[in-house]
């Protein structure tokens, strides 16, 4: 029995409550989480869906005070990659979902319309996911492991990125992508960089971070993260994705690209990948139903192959801008553009 009190805030603090499936109780991740979040109230549950999938949840408020749910994934450890995402030329593109939802709160994130809850589910049986993906090795697949979350942002609680790094040492036929907006490189220093791990860092202009990427590190911190990663032996990918059509876009994106290459040696990165905002077709309706209102969504999107994206005119303007700016620093084979 614990008391949850905060004199300064009306809402409980993040992870004030941890819901733990009985079956998940004795996994190392559960023990680690409990040892770190000592002050949280523990509530035992039978199945994560009893908390995560109930109706009437307030997604936006939960984003401000997410609870943690520790569960066991019982089937389907990986999925085919979405056509909304770049497969970087790999025929076999998959994603693994060992965590659902993200500690960051980006206004454009597709997760807002995807799950009934903003609470974070960690599937503690990561070894089952790793073993299952081992079975794909003969396909030489590309596996994105930080797809429905930012795995590195939760590394202190889960250690999952470390597990994927160790997995890469032993499974060289599988290319693993860890995409992140985190800035704490010390979480990766215990491990030697594997050749088949793509460390992809998403960057945005500071104005966009400030207005639309709540809780994420500022641009300079992410740049420092990339610099440390390079020093440590990684060849990171830089992702400018999604590119948004916002006021002063020319200035913002030109300044962003200049700032990146003022600080980072273009020869030391694998590539820069950029793409316009892309959202599932029914996303806006779901957001409206949930009372999610943002300037980003108040935009006349066009529907293309079952998804929403920028209207042609704006896409062309932004594509030309980014391509021209990036070409000043990178050869064409290091610039990746993904469009619907």
């Amino acid at each position: 029995m614990k008391s949850v009190q905060s004199s300064t805030s009306l809402i409980t603090k993040a992870f004030s409550h941890i819901y733990i499936e009985r079956e998940a109780e004795n996994y190392p991740t559960t023990i680690l989480v409990k040892s770190i979040l000592k002050d949280s109230t523990i509530i035992m549950i039978e199945h994560y869906k009893d908390v995560f999938c109930v109706s009437g949840q307030d997604f936006m408020l939960q984003k401000k005070s997410p609870k943690l749910i520790l569960a066991v994934k019982r089937s389907k450890y990986y999925y085919k990659g979405s056509p909304l995402c770049n497969n970087y030329g790999f025929e076999h593109f998959y994603y693994a979902s060992s965590v659902m939802n993200c500690p960051f709160n980006c206004a454009y994130c597709y997760l807002q319309g995807m799950y009934p809850s903003a609470n974070i589910v960690i599937f503690v049986n990561i070894n089952d996911t790793l073993n299952s993906i081992k079975g794909l090795s003969q396909l030489n697949p590309y596996v994105s492991v930080s797809y429905d979350t930012d795995l590195l942002a939760l590394e202190k609680l889960t250690g999952f990125v470390g597990e994927w790094i160790k997995f890469c040492y032993e499974n060289k036929d599988i290319t693993v992508e860890v995409r992140t907006k985190s800035a704490d490189f010390s979480l990766l220093t215990p491990y030697k960089p594997p050749e088949n791990l793509i460390l992809a860092v998403t960057l945005s202009p500071d104005e966009i971070i400030l207005n639309y990427e709540d809780k994420t590190p500022k641009l300079s911190s992410r740049i420092n993260f990339i610099k440390r990663a390079i020093e440590y032996g990684y060849t990171p990918r830089i992702c400018i994705d999604p590119v948004l059509y916002v006021e002063n876009y020319t200035e913002l994106y030109t300044r962003l690209v200049s700032y990146i290459f003022l600080n980072i040696d273009a020869k030391k990165i694998s590539d820069v990948s950029f793409g316009m905002i892309r959202l599932p077709k029914d996303f806006l309706k779901r957001c409206e139903k949930r009372g999610l209102y943002s300037k980003i969504f108040a935009y006349p999107f066009r529907t293309e192959t079952g998804a929403l994206t920028l209207i042609h005119e704006h896409e062309v303007i932004l594509y030309n801008l980014l391509l021209k700016t990036l070409s000043g620093f990178l050869p064409a084979n290091k610039i990746n553009y993904y469009s619907l």
Partner: protein, 197 residues
Amino acid sequence: MHAYIIEEKTGCNLLLEANSALLVKTPVKDDIFAFIGQEDSVLYINKITDPYTGKSCYPEIMFAHPFIENEIADNSIYHLFLYAKKSFILRNIYFFTCPANQREKIYSWVKNRLLHIEEKAPKFTEDEENMIEHISRGLILTQSMRYDFKRLCMSKKIRDGGLVDVLTGYINTSAGSKRERSIIYDEISSKLNLVNY
């Protein structure tokens, strides 16, 4: 905003009590449902189990509070929670136990919750509402066009902070035929959709 507080009394049927309260006044979004059960200690309930089926439900603890949390096993309280969930948002359903002489603490916390409910959805001003209605009638818009028109107006308002500048040009416009309506509606839609930074 309104708080529906159901207090357990000896021999009372909880579902009947709740039903009566909801019959007097129909709950609207953001109304609060609070249950106060009879016990010797003040507890904020975070898990309710039906002892007959072993099934549990979980009131969401979203707001800071000064109470001790615990779980409870009680068939009628379990069903009361399920009943409340049909009419109230999860974050606005609170279950407590409390001795009769200490209930003031709970009333005061619930009252404080009522004072801090925020309206998040953007709204049209009265002027904007009137203009939208006037134009819709002038153009004899169908129900689906009216819905679409309001949606476009809201997007424009969220994006640019206002929409009177666009609507003013159409306030005295009327359509004499479906074709004319379609031409004018397309024109107004493209103006509302115009994003040019």
